[in-house]
Each structure stands twice: as C-alpha cells, then as structure tokens.
Point group: D3
C-alpha cells in the first residue's frame, strides 16, 4: 500500500489526506480507487498534463469548488502553466457559463503563483 | 457575416443551423458569439484539438446530450481520434461519474466511425 | 380535485397528463403539489409571466430538456413572446453556458410559432 | 477601457475585482466579456431588473454559491426588493429543489438589509 | 405552528434556523413546506432512515455543500451509522464521480463522531 | 471475463451492451469497472436494493435520463416495487426539484409494469 501511495505521489504530486486514511479504513476501496486513478491518469494517447487540464475544466464547470481546488493543487507538478489553465477555463466559460470561468480563475490565482 | 461563417467552418467544421439563423434574427448577438467562439477556440498555448477534448468532457460531465453530440461532430475535423476522446471521457468518469463516460462513449460510437 | 385542475388550467394553461394521474394514484401528494404550485405561480410582487420566464431559464440552465419543453408549452398562455424568452435565455447563456441558450432556443422555435 | 468599466458600474453596480484585473491581463477577453454582458443586461423587451432576478434564480438552482452572492450584490442597485428575490427563489424551489431556495434565502438575508 | 416545529424535531432532529424564521415571515409557505416535508419523510414503504440516506447521496451528488451538511446533521438522530452513509456515498461515487464521495466523506467525518 | 459478466447478471440483472463491448475493447478498464461495481453493489450494511433506490434517485436528480432509465431496468430484478421507487423519487423532488420527480415517475411507468 505504502508503495502505491509513493507511486501516486510520483505521478500526481501531493496525495490528499483522504487517500491516506482510506488505506486503513477501507483498504479494498482504496486499492480500487488507486487502480482506477492509475488507469485514468497514466500517459496514454493523451498526456497526464492534458488530462489534468480536462479535470480542472470539468470541476469548474460542475461548480465543484473542492474538486477545482484539489485538481489545481496537482497541476503545477505536471508542468502546467497558469496560461494553460486559463485557456482551459475559457472552454468552461463557453460550455458552462461565466461563473465557471470566474471562480476557476479566482482559485487559479490563489493556488498558482504569478509567472508560473 | 458570410465570411465569418466560412472562417468558422474552416476552424471547427460544419457550422450548426442555429448559427446560420442567428445571422438574420439577431446579428449583434451572432457577431458576439462568433468573436467569443473565435477567441476561445483559436490556437493559443493550448491547441484547438486539446480544447475540443476539454469541451467534449465537460459536455458529457454535465449530462448535456445535445452539446456532447455537437462537440463530437466537430472533433474528427480537428484530427481527433476515438481513442483520444475515450481517454478524455475516462477523466469525466472520475470527476462526474460512470454515466458521463457510458453516455459519452455511446455517442462517440455513433458519431465517429471505427478505426478513426 | 376536478375543480383544482380547472383552476390550474385557468392559471397556467394545459395541465400535464402526469398531474391528472396523480389525482387518482396519490391524492395527498397531488393536493400538496397543487398548493405549492399555486403559491409559487400566483401573482405576487412578481407576475406569473415573470416567474414563467425564470422557470424556463432555470430549466434550460439545468439542461433539463423535459422541464424546458414543459415550461415553454405554458408560456404562450401567459402572453409571453418569443423575444422575451430569447432574452431570458441570454441570461442562461451567461450563467450556464452557450448550450443552455442554444438548446433553449431550439425548443423555443419548436414550441412557439413565428411572430408570437 | 476605463470608460467601459464606468458604464458597467452605472448599469449593474460594483464591478467585481476580477473584471478590473482582466483589463490588464487579457484585454481582448475583457472587451468581449464586456460586450456580451452589455448585450445581455441592456434593457430590451425584458428590463435589467427582470434579467437580474432570472440570474439570481439560475445561480441558486445551480448551487453556484459564488454566482448567487455576486448576483445578489448587484440586485439592490437595480431597485430589486427582498420580496421580489424571495418570489424568484420560490421558482428555484419548484424547478431545482428546496436547498436552492434555502441557500438563496440565507444569502439574501446576508446581502440585503431588512426592509429593502 | 409551534406544534408543527416540535413534531418535525421529533422526526428529523434539529430544525434549521431557516424554518423557524419562515413561521413569521411567510407562514403560508412555511405550512406548505412543512406538509411537503412531512409527506416525504414519513415512514411509508421506505423508512425515514432509508430516505435520509437517499437525501445525503443526492446532496453530495449535486455538489450541494450546504444540503449535504444539513442532511448529515439529522442522520444520527435516525440511527444512521457512519458505515451506512459511507456505503450510500459509494453509490454517489459511481453515479456522480469521485469528488461527490470524497467531499461527502469529509463532511461525514466532521459531522459524525468516530464509532457512531 | 465471461464468468464476471455472468456474476454481474446474477447480481444486477441484464448487463448493458456497453459492458460487453468493453471486455474486448479495453479489458483493463472493464475489469476495474467490474470490481468497482462489485464493491459498490455488494450487500454490506446497506442492501443492494437500498443502494439501487439511491442510484435511481441520484440519476433523476442529475436529470440524467440515460442513467435513470438504466438504473430502473435493473430495479425489478432486485425485488423493488413501483411504490418504493416512487417514495425515493419524492426525496429527489425535495432535494432536486419537481422535474426530477415528474421525469423519474414517467420513466418508472414506462419501465415497470402496473402492480409491480
């Protein structure tokens, strides 16, 4: 299990406290979520970076403030720039309304440092 | 106006009937939507192709059956493959649930031909 | 009960088949829904017409295709014009994305005749 | 640009910090959002006031806590009363569930003073 | 009215401040919401407990942070355990995505004490 | 793989065409979805039946017409009655608005025979 957490950190950066607790409380669920995450995030025909931008845009579009924040935290570790997130959020504007863009950008400014 | 429609077709493929009617009914709104679409889709730090994949994943996540279909129609013209859409939909699975993935894939199979 | 249905028809036009069945299947639920609808739609500081426009815009924003259709059906009976619905849908565009506007307008063109 | 901000303030009250930053960071996006907002909010067959009530009801229906707050801030400047917002939120109750109404009212009590 | 509040507290535990204010501000709306709540929560072919689990899962699925919290508050009074809520949230994971599960569990850990 | 499908059919009734195709196209994804579904649906502190009712209510609340239909298809095989689904949908009414209830009931009447 510990190895899995290390691997995941190598892949997506800081692993949320939630996952760490799950290893003790519900190891079966943890293992499955781990495998699912692995399968989804692993480089395939799309890079991990592209998939992260998709995840941020979905989270903002759903007005999911917690998921937007969580996805943005991991973004910098994958070499994603503020400008790239901002362009992804424009698509969220078109598909899901201006508040998705406004809130996403507010979170972005908070999570990612200037010049990143 | 006609020029704008031609340009948009060059960029995203077949322009929906809706936009054509808007040129007559509400030219001011049409012009703005046109400019907004242009600004959002134009190649920037993200390619048009990446942004299209983001749009498909958002539409599927919102259970927006009409937008999912509309975005998929334009995807092939940008050189997007079925495999790429499928990986984008996996992110929708994680962020927005299995039905987003299942419906997105069903639409994908309908809109894009095998081998694409 | 029959009287209630007549009253509701006087207020919002054609009563959906669903409500008619509810009078037999679950009269207690029917009565409550009836009273709630009455309280919500009755002219207050906002007119029934204004509230109908709000309902159409919410339904379109939620990508609720059935509710959008149902609300549009009743709109003409309240003297609502296509132009008014179209302006309400622009707000849905801003708050909930272009697909809310596009689908709402497509439904509008289907339900309301030209010139209305 | 400065003139546009002044105009917008005349129309909808206090302009969010976000818009001010956009004038520097992405003037092209800013200008488009400005024009879109102008076109959507300008008095047409519906008044700005009616459209604001629609926007509040949509934001509450989408459980968009940030947009609900933002739209409510601007409401008083357009002469909207608490009672009017409350009736708009009842429609949100019917179309999108009691929590849309409860949260909307909680925000309303916070943003608008009694007697307004 | 006071009797109704007492009854509701007997049924679902602590009545939110919102309902108490409604008795004064809009007694007609209050009475209707009361009756609707009563009809929906009363033991029928499904127990109140089962319906509470459904409500928690819906609230988490809609990313409705306020409703998720409010529904969880009342859960313990109905004899619902953490393990039961956790299994209900797994269904939310499948139908509405991992963030619905993660946020629901975070709230659960905050609202319900260990061992409950 | 074939054994897994048989097992799943034993558990939740007819397996959708989608899953069958996944066994060929993306066996790794299929296996994970299979395990996740198994872990989520298996009788635990909540019965499979209770979890199915939760799934139906979530799907209706999200206005997810395809998932609502799919979940209802499997319900009868778990001994769920129309009356039980109807009570679950009332909770969806309260949490997510009348259209969630109305559409859910319309689908219910279509999928489940009278007297069930």
């Amino acid at each position: 299990m510990t190895r899995d957490l290390k691997e995941l950190e190598g892949q997506i950066g800081k692993v949320p406290k939630f996952f760490k607790e799950l290893t003790v409380r519900d190891p079966e669920m943890f293992e499955m979520v781990m495998k699912l995450e692995g399968h989804i995030w692993d480089d395939g025909v799309l890079t991990r970076k592209t998939k992260k931008l998709i995840a941020i845009a979905i989270a903002a579009s759903l007005r999911d403030t917690h998921a937007t924040h969580a996805q943005l935290i991991g973004a910098a570790n994958l070499g994603i720039t503020k400008k790239e997130v901002e362009e992804a959020l424009r698509v969220a504007f078109l598909l899901a309304g201006m508040p998705a863009y406004v809130y996403g950008k507010a979170q972005l400014d908070e999570v990612m440092k200037e010049g990143a």
